[in-house]
Subunit: 290 residues, 2 copies
Amino acid sequence: MSGRLCIIGVGLIGGSVALAARQKGLFSEIIGVDQNSENLREAEQRGVINGGFEDVTDLPGNFDVVMLATPVGDMQRLFELLKPRWFSSTVYTDVGSTKESVVEAANHVFGSVPSNFVAGHPIAGSEKSGIGAARADLYQAKRVILTPCAKTGAGPLQDVRDLWEQIGAVVSVMEAHHHDQIFAATSHLPHIVAFALVDMLGRKDEQDEILKYAAGGFRDFTRIASSNPRMWLDICMGNRKELMCLIEGFKNELSRINEMLENNERDKLLDSFQFARDTRQRFLERFDVD
Amino acid sequence: MSGRLCIIGVGLIGGSVALAARQKGLFSEIIGVDQNSENLREAEQRGVINGGFEDVTDLPGNFDVVMLATPVGDMQRLFELLKPRWFSSTVYTDVGSTKESVVEAANHVFGSVPSNFVAGHPIAGSEKSGIGAARADLYQAKRVILTPCAKTGAGPLQDVRDLWEQIGAVVSVMEAHHHDQIFAATSHLPHIVAFALVDMLGRKDEQDEILKYAAGGFRDFTRIASSNPRMWLDICMGNRKELMCLIEGFKNELSRINEMLENNERDKLLDSFQFARDTRQRFLERFDVD
């Protein structure tokens, strides 16, 4: 490509797209939008973007691709700001971790999802956030899911697919609702569980001692509890129906284990641990994108 | 030291003690006991032990230190086998992850805990198990907790402390009951939660897709679900009273979060995530032994 890319929200996710696109020479110019002027300046100084705006309403119109890379809770407001200057020649996409909420926001603002908007979700990230954590290779061999609607144009879908593939990602397509079901299980529930566990232990009287004697297993188990709280608030709220269902299911699973402990059902508990270990082994064997 | 060390159970934990003691030249001879003859042969071939026995009743008596490094569920049976050949000149210790259950097993077999038995727990390990995972530096800068009873001799306690310190560990002393309370929170509950979550997701119809789209966060969060199931069965059973209490507490925490989701209480949920993140940050700052 020789066109222009605009990244709205120059943090870990958006900044990494910009870095990778620049490394591959995909655009002649990359412009950033970020309410945080310091972030914007850092992105410019690191050569992530050619220039930037703090306010999305100051944006000129001639972009080939505009990527919304803010927390999902900002999407509706962004759509409202973009609506008066929504260009049919531009392809719009987002990187939100929930997809139904983004589709709903677009429906709410535009009446229906514009044909040149392609909802997307890169399965990559880190518990670190901000432009300082951005890396050109963040999407290398990582999955990206696109969730087009019935009205989404084939051209915009192909453009967004091409962009991700050119920066190393492996693209899948699925429905937004199905996406949200899968990610409630694989990502949102684990985050809730990690936040909840660390929250609970941090409120105990003996928390200092608990943290003192916690070891490497605890560090890894709780890594995702260091994730950006605001971003995860939006994700959990954006997928709360699925998530609430899974939390109830998980509470039942814990009750089942408590019963096994209470009734001294060693064989059942061992089966359960063994099954979990085998399941994780299957995950590890296919973890590298196949 | 120039004496003899016996390790009963030559796996990750016992094998790593043997490797470290050998590297430091602490004993003239290290003998292993393991029911698994293949494990024993591998330990001998790797130079971890000088020789070994499959049966603890074949052990000669002249050891300076005997370390019980089997799953905690084996302790009572081991004490029974050792009782007829319990030497007052030997110092006995263990490495079990629960301490009240070990003290109870000793009480049950001997009437009271022998003065030359020092219960201990090294806070080091891995989701990997077996002699193949043993490393001479496993205990370097790691914590070891000793939980002596009122009757424990000062000499044996000092000997066990010296052994751990000489292979790089930082030793603390506390009561067995207090130990079990702390580790129910910091280690046993996280393991149960990880096992339970992977177990639940592995039983879902869409489990293939869930695992397909799981990413690095899921891998780290569930790492402890790959831990040795038999060992963790014993640990959970050995500390089940504390553990059951904490599981109930954790279910309440999850209910609290589900209520926030249901009632759209964004501020409360954000506070909770933020508190968890701050708590983990405090943990990271003191993670290296201070």
